[in-house]
Amino acid sequence: MKLVYKVLASLVAAEVAVQAMMVVLGDAGLFRYVEQGGVIDKASAESGDMAFPEFFAFVVHGMNGMMVIPTIALLLLVSSFFAKIPGAVKGAALVVLLVAVQVSLGLLGHQITALGALHGLNALLLFGAAVHAALRGRRAATGATAQPHARVETVV
């Protein structure tokens, strides 16, 4: 379970990195499209397939953010119950909390744009929390293999 915890926490961190990459990729494609004379309004934005290839990145960002990452975060919290790592539950709960904040900020940012800036900032906090949890998992994993050895030493 320690390994599962570590892997899930690393996955959250990797997914946050993917999210950052996707949204900037989409923006870059959008700006180039506009520079080349493309016009975008609500009708084209909602049409499902936009006329620039990087549009897929926005779709990935949305699906990842609203479905995949919350699911991984929840599984991380479950694995933390069984992981026998000090502070695992706390670490995972923090990740879940930050994911919830992140999704809310992302959606509310459509209406109150300043919250979009906080969405970017919170992404860094979430990334940090996920990496921290993954490292905690690794320390515990290496610690666990060393432990029996240490006990033998004290007995002898």
Binding site: A43, E46, S47, A51, T71
Partner: protein, 511 residues
């Protein structure tokens, strides 16, 4: 010592198990509860909302609240119940306009030459413009030659008899390959409308199963007027007017009055503005506005699914006029030249709440028989097993949404509140509703009749209509992917039932 440790480990494991159940139990239950049966009637969906009216049906059915799987539904009806299949145009009357539309799945070329993999009607997309005069009976035979999922045609904005509304699983079965279906309705009102498939509509509309419907006044148009259809649709993300990339050119003589019928078949609103002359917004959603004044340096917003008739009087000096439809593409009206520069979108938009002058509504919206709330929200959950953040109606997620129940002749008021953070173009089938107020500010302009109303994030609208067209009618978001995400409710008349089911052997999937 060893025993204590083992007991401690066991206790810890039990605690972890309990925490897991506490954490995953509710979502697992919600997931299971969200799964839709293979076939269901919209009459059994959600819970009945009688809009404050206590009727005999209401008294017999006060318990109808719960999940789709459990309750007996609001389909319990008095003995006088009639199937919506009987709600048709006069079957003995001969049709005035007779058309056959053959639907195919194929690769086709747009007017500009671009190749598109999609659907056609009579070999083209958009399909042919259907023309009728007011009072004529239109009869359209729809043949499905090769669209695998089946098709229907919905007459968007036309208050057709319910059996001709073309909603798969509600008013008919999807028309499978090799089959046909005939729609009959009287064109009751002059105006601009359109038709589109209402089977897997988010996909079939996007890929081309649509066309324009123009109903002209019974009298011949006066001399010195012209009429241009401008149907906006995006194919593979490419913006087109009447299936053509770039400008559509139309001839118009100096001094001539031209009506440009803008149809927005897309999922989001689009602005329309005019360069080279002032314009009047003559009609919205197929209903003429009352005494609309000429405006310039102003954009008119066309709701997704909505229509706007832009009326321009051509300059006497023979110079051309450009009607911008959301960007570079548009309609250029001219006589000798079509060379008119593009102008940027004006900063101001026309507010229909105060445009035009007042006129009688024909009914009193301040003494309604029913009052409904249609509050749109959003929250995490499961939609037919899919996790996500889905739309809610009055706090309930699809399919546990309200069924708005009315009786024929009722004056109905609906308060639409959008707390979901995204705009929604709300479309009520079979009726036109008049806008009474927005965010508490009363309408002071021309009566503003809509079938597709853009409700922006954070906005609220009060609308009213007369329940004069019995049947079971969809009342949904016309950002069609939003409809697949659960933003669908129905308006149902007491005593009307449907034999059709969503799902089932016909594979009905209206959204």
């Amino acid at each position: 010592m060893e025993g204590t440790r083992r007991r401690g480990a066991r206790l810890r494991l039990a605690l972890a198990g309990a925490a897991t159940i506490a954490l995953l139990g509710p979502p697992a239950w919600m997931w299971q509860d969200s799964l839709m049966p293979g076939a269901y009637s919209v009459m059994d969906m959600g819970y009945a909302d009688y809009g404050g009216a206590l009727t005999h049906v209401a008294a017999a059915d006060t318990s109808a609240h719960g999940s789709h799987a459990e309750h007996s539904g609001h389909s319990a009806h008095p003995a006088s119940a009639r199937s919506l299949t009987s709600l048709t145009a006069d079957p003995d009357r001969a049709a005035d306009v007779v058309i056959t539309l053959v639907a195919r799945r194929q690769r086709f070329r747009l007017a500009g030459g671009r190749s598109v993999d999609g659907y056609t009607l009579n070999g083209a997309s958009p399909g042919p413009v259907v023309h009728a005069a007011v009072g004529q009976l239109v009869q359209v035979r729809l043949v499905n030659e090769s669209v695998p999922d089946g098709i229907t045609l919905h007459w968007h904005g036309v208050d057709v008899p319910n059996a001709a509304d073309g909603v798969a699983g509600v008013t008919q079965d999807a028309v499978g390959v090799g089959r046909s279906f005939t729609y009959r309705f009287v064109a009751g009102q002059a105006g601009t409308f359109w038709y589109h498939s209402h089977q897997v509509s988010h996909e079939q509309v996007r890929r081309g199963l649509l066309g324009a419907l123009v109903v002209t006044p019974a009298a011949r148009p006066p001399a010195g007027t012209a009429d241009v259809v401008a149907l906006l649709h995006l194919y593979d993300g490419v913006r087109t007017i009447n299936g053509r990339e770039g400008d559509v050119h139309a001839e118009a003589r100096p001094g001539e009055r031209v009506r440009v019928r803008v149809i927005n078949t897309e999922n989001g609103q689009t602005p329309v503005w005019v360069a080279g002359a002032p314009f009047r917004l003559a009609a919205v959603d197929g209903t003429d506005l009352h005494e609309p004044a000429p405006v310039r340096d102003t954009a008119a917003m066309v709701t997704a699914g909505g229509r706007a008739d832009i009326e321009v009087t051509m300059p006497e000096d023979g110079s051309p006029v450009r009607v911008h439809i959301g960007g570079p593409a548009g309609v250029v009206l001219g006589s000798r030249s079509y060379d008119v520069p593009a102008v940027p979108r004006p900063a101001t938009s026309l507010d229909l709440l105060s445009y035009g002058t007042r006129a009688a509504l024909g009914f009193d919206p301040d003494r309604p028989d029913r009052r409904f709330d249609y509050e749109i929200g959003r929250r995490p959950g499961f939609l037919d097993g899919r996790p996500g953040i889905w739309w809610t109606i009055n706090g309930h997620m699809f399919p546990d949404v309200p069924m708005f129940v009315v009786a024929e002749g009722d004056v109905v008021r609906v308060r639409i509140v959008n707390d979901s953070g995204e705009p929604h173009p709300m479309h009520l089938h079979g009726h036109h509703a008049v806008v009474l107020s927005r965010d508490g500010v009363r309408a002071t302009g021309s009566p503003w009749w809509v079938d597709s109303l853009e409700v922006g994030a954070g906005e609220s609208y009060d609308i009213a209509f007369v329940a004069d067209n019995p049947g079971i009618w969809m009342d949904h978001c016309h950002n069609l992917p939003h409809a697949t995400e659960g933003l669908v409710a129905h308006l149902m008349y007491e005593g009307v039932t449907t034999p059709f089911t969503v799902g089932g052997t016909a594979g009905n999937e209206p959204e």
